[in-house]
Amino acid sequence: MVPAQWYLILAAGIFCIGLFGVLTRSDALYFLMSVELMMNAANVNFVAFSLYYGDLTGQVFALFVIALAAAEVAIGIGIILVLYRNFGDIDVTVPTEMRW
């Protein structure tokens, strides 16, 4: 069996890629994708630990996260549409109306 730390390293790598995306990109769609990546990193962890402990709860959680991610994309795309409609762009650095 592949040792658990390999999965964790994989998950950490995916998470960092996602985080990197969030921090460097300003396009809302890239944002959304990066967030998906980070969630999937969590999913990998869930599944890995599920396997490691021989408990199915983790896999169930992974399924939940996938379902949630789908819902989140739906809302996220909606927000992006509104952004585009109001600002003519989907650059997240443009709308700063809510600051102080």
Binding site: L19, V22, L23, V92, T93, T96, M98, R99, W100
Partner: protein, 674 residues
Amino acid sequence: MVDAFAYVPAVVLLPFFSFLVALGAGKYLPKGGAFGGIAATAGSFLLSLWIATAVAGGRAYNETLYTWAAGDQFELTFGALIDPLSALMLVIVTLVALLVHVFSLGYMNDEGETGLPRYYAGLGLFTASMLGFVVADNLLMAFMFFELVGLCSYLLIGFHFREPGPPSAAKKAFLVTRFGDYFFLVGVVAVFATFGTAAFAGEGSFPALAEAALAGSGDVWTPGGLELQTWLTVVGLLVLGGVVGKSAQFPLHTWLPDAMEGPTPVSALIHAATMVAAGVYLVARMYGFYVLTPTTLAVIAFIGGFTALFAATMGVVKDELKQVLAYSTISQYGYMMLALGAGGYVAAVFHLTTHAFFKALLFLGAGSVIIAMHHNEDMWDMGGLKAKMPVTYYTFLAGSLALAGIFPFAGFWSKDEILYEALVHGLNEPLLLGGYLMGLLAVPVTAFYTFRMVFLTFHGEPRSATARDPEPVRWNVKGPLSVLGTLAVVTGFINMVPVQKVLGLEGIDYLHRWLDNEWGGIEGLSSHHYADLGPYSSGYIAGGEVPTVLVGAAVSLGLALAGLGLAWRLYNVASPTEHTAKLGGIKDVLYNNYYLDELQVWIAYRTEDVAGGADTFDQGIIDGVVNGVSSVSLLGGSRVRRIQTGLVTQYAAMLTLGLIALLVLLGVNGGWFL
């Protein structure tokens, strides 16, 4: 038989009801409620006479009537104390009040004044308060009515509130007396703290307790281990503060001349005969306490003597009739204080009595002149009124002779006795002798300004159109004048001590016998008792009592006649001129009352400056700190919120940084990096 003393509360309450009636229904009543006031004061007067007869019948009254606050620590009560002193004072106050009410019909109603219900309400409340003060059986009750009297004085001085002058004078009167009353109130509180009671008479009264404590047979509280004698002196001086304020003694006398802004009957009732007498009466009332502290007595005598002379000098240069009378009032109360300080308890009460009558007479006479002169008070516009208004003239003359102390008018007897007491006791007491000399010096000055006033007003040629054709006055003016005129002549005969001493007659010093409880009274409240307690011993000049009496009387009468003579020479001419210019620079000083009013105004302004400074401090510093805290919070908030840039990426970065920081922290604590 019905007990006269059961009606003591009625004496006080009758005028109070007239106050209520005049206030509530005065405008629906004829004469603005005057008859209610007359009926009430007449009723009080008759009851007072009855009470005085009961005292003459050998009885006295000292009862607690109402418990104001029944604490365990102190019991604060109202009661009535009727002894020869208060019975005498009751008669004086009610009689003068009655006559003033009648006179007011002429002075206020006939002159078409508005606001009469308010006027009669004020008079009623004043009479009630004054009577309450007179019958008070303890210091607290006395203080309370003392203050109410001050309120009435305020209301009546400011009667013509639509003009600028009277409200200002009213304010000044209340404020200056309030300043004195502050010390009085501290004194009252101190008496309670020291003795646990403020009763005037009886076994457990504070003078009795003080006497016992000084004799070593009793224990009273003193603050901070102060010596008993010192503390009692302090208490006595504190109470004296109120006396100095109300009886218009130096340096709190400045309100009284201003108080002449009030209607003239009010001046007669309040600022001459009764309220101003309250201070002197209070000292007489608790004389058993004052005689225990020689320092206080000396201070009283010195203040009195000084005020007598000081006020008399200012009376010399005044142009207005009522102003002269105002300064003479201050001066005469100075004499009473001198008497009290000199151990002349009876002499003071005697002068209080005679002065009440002749000064009320003079003020009412002045009121009559003012009616005639259409409210012009300047004596230089008068002259020659003698022929036009004989009743006023002769009564006024009787009052003036009494004031000047000319034999055999009332003032002579009482003033002579005061000076005699001050002399015989002062021979062994230098401070007292100083008071005596000032009192003696004031005699010719008094005679001079009194007759300057008489001559300017009534003699010579009329100096204005109104003086040539004065308005006539009616019975309601002449009646009171005649009654008081008679009294000004005869009151002196109740106490002819010099005659008794010189001729060796026994028992014609009725007032002495009256105040010595010879007919009736309360143990411990007699002139005899006070004399025993007092610190003074008598000394005589020219070898013995009789020569001293004769020399003293001759000197004071001679000085009075000299003053009269000078006034005669200068002012009893057809068209007199001002001779005050001869005084040179002194005239300005006298005319401006030694600049004491300016001094008080200066103090008032400086107080306002301090208040303004306090306000600036309050708004700037104290409130500034409060607002500063608020500004700092707001400023801090506005700075910190700039973190909220609105850029999502920055939020995410901060989130990440936070996470890393947390991890590092945990790592360091957990020893991962070791």
